[in-house]
Symmetry: C2
Subunit: 344 residues, 2 copies
Amino acid sequence: MGRRPTLKTIAEEVGVTVSAVSLALRDDPRISVATRERIQRSAATLGYVYNRHAAGLRRGDSGTVAVCLNDLSNPFFTEFLGHMEARFREAGRMMLFGHANESLDVQAQFIRQMVEHGAAGLILIPVAGTRRDDIAGERARHLENFPVVLISRDVEQTPYDRVINDDALGVQLLFDHLYGLGHRRFVWLGGGKETSTARDRERAFIEAMRAAGLSVDDETIHHGPTSLAFGDTMLERLLGTGEPPTAVLCFSDVIAFGVLAACYRHGLRPGVDLSVTGFDDMGAAAYSSPALTSVRVRTDRIGQRASELLGARMAGDRRPPERVVMPPELVVRDSSGPAPVTRR
Amino acid sequence: MGRRPTLKTIAEEVGVTVSAVSLALRDDPRISVATRERIQRSAATLGYVYNRHAAGLRRGDSGTVAVCLNDLSNPFFTEFLGHMEARFREAGRMMLFGHANESLDVQAQFIRQMVEHGAAGLILIPVAGTRRDDIAGERARHLENFPVVLISRDVEQTPYDRVINDDALGVQLLFDHLYGLGHRRFVWLGGGKETSTARDRERAFIEAMRAAGLSVDDETIHHGPTSLAFGDTMLERLLGTGEPPTAVLCFSDVIAFGVLAACYRHGLRPGVDLSVTGFDDMGAAAYSSPALTSVRVRTDRIGQRASELLGARMAGDRRPPERVVMPPELVVRDSSGPAPVTRR
DNA sequence: TCATGACGATCGCAAATTTCT
DNA sequence: CAGAAATTTGCGATCGTCATG
């Protein structure tokens, strides 16, 4: 048996022209109902499959949207994926998906390929360390006039829409909550210098500390990867300190889960002996032992707003780039409680 | 500035033919080094972007591979994604990604679109309830002669390669472990009738019970969704029973985490008062409170073998479909321990 | 005039074919 | 006549224009 049937195959079968078949399959009213049905029936029996390369070449648009993710192993980011994918599917667009795995090179390669594939737009959660020159200007000519929306992480000086969480507010909410519970010895765990989220949250933490008249030194802030292992080993280390903290604020839920694991092994009761907070409020935060106090980042709203913005850009919107900052919500659960009074 | 530059634009700039440019950009030796460099330089300054629709139309292959996932919210499945994506990128193929969200309709829609996009092959984790007719035969003509590899979940009577975990062995390992610790009152939590994994694991559990001379009744097996919430509420319900189990075998780690959460709230010590086991051994299993005894499904090996098989099929391999069953490994941690003797 | 559908050009690239030195 | 270079053809769908009853 030969190759795949094409419009021509159907046209010959039915005895009409190729263009008539094309129109009929798209339910164009210029073709009478009778012939349309004959054509569609023939297409079905022949096992016709639409060729998007041909259509894309002719039309210049492939009907796809590209999404490039920094890290799949963190469920927080896959939450975005779920929200976006649903919205694009509703809009009849397929999602071209890339996983950059926190590598700048892979990210660059992906973005280029997606443009080559004729994606109509790009949603990007930039990998750590992404700077303006990586995604705009000389080294990214292919992104000129290309619709791009950044989510979750901001990259400054970029001519793109951005939809991000209000990280400063989130930290403020957590700090106020813990301070109100009487905590004075704080530690900040995680983050780094390579993402806007890490920088913004740390800065907000430092400002909150200063505003409360508390000093920040080398023992107060510990950078590290967003992993369970980091939270776990860091708490181990803190327990060896002369004066352990009473409250541990983690850059992310994932890190906080690691901290809880270490607490468990040491017989420390989170929320009683030590308060632990996360950030993101991913689904699992309600089911840790104990349930985690966190800040809910509205991945749903961020995803929704981002797809709206991208949709508008793809439709030709030329207004100056917008920077949307989505407010998070404090979620108090059992991993935070009054500062212990017996220790000092 | 008009449209995107094409090969023709470059050809006119440099003063050669379109085909020369085409060859030069692909580093074909038929073009002398000197002109090749002139051409590539011109392409760079013009901001030329390769048009994969045109190339794909001409060549009949788009260089993409499709992956259709059942459920993104379960990190176990995204582990596959990570492994596959890495391997395909190494092979120079882009990944077209679809998220079926456990919906048969969405899955069907995706598969069709992916074929339309000229994907060279498809890796599929079928959604729950997928049967032969959904992905082969009359209702899926477009998959005739199309390379497909099923992973994780089997669909019987399908003419495709399959790479799955040895679920019966996994359950056997867990059961023997717990039985050896003295447990006699077991409960099975999760699964259902709609996936091969759920059926195989449940069947293996029943067989193990029978072989051990233990009876299986309505109180022994509880089907339900693979979610934290299910594990949580089911344990609540079991605690209300007259004679609670001493060992809870969960269909998946996710469910087990939910069980651990409920244990925590009730002051039950997993591994002491009650033994809890998961299945999959996803990354988080080592960091729950307490660390979870589970069975490690080798997502890495399954992913690797699946991409190898798909690669061979895409290269024209016509041997009969293969069914690869990957052995899992028991991982004993702290959520399982000797059966309590004080209770009965 | 209107509804229906035929016709041919075209998208950008790559492979086959022809022409040149 | 070999080898390099230029030319032509065609992938499969879409769109604008034109023809027919």
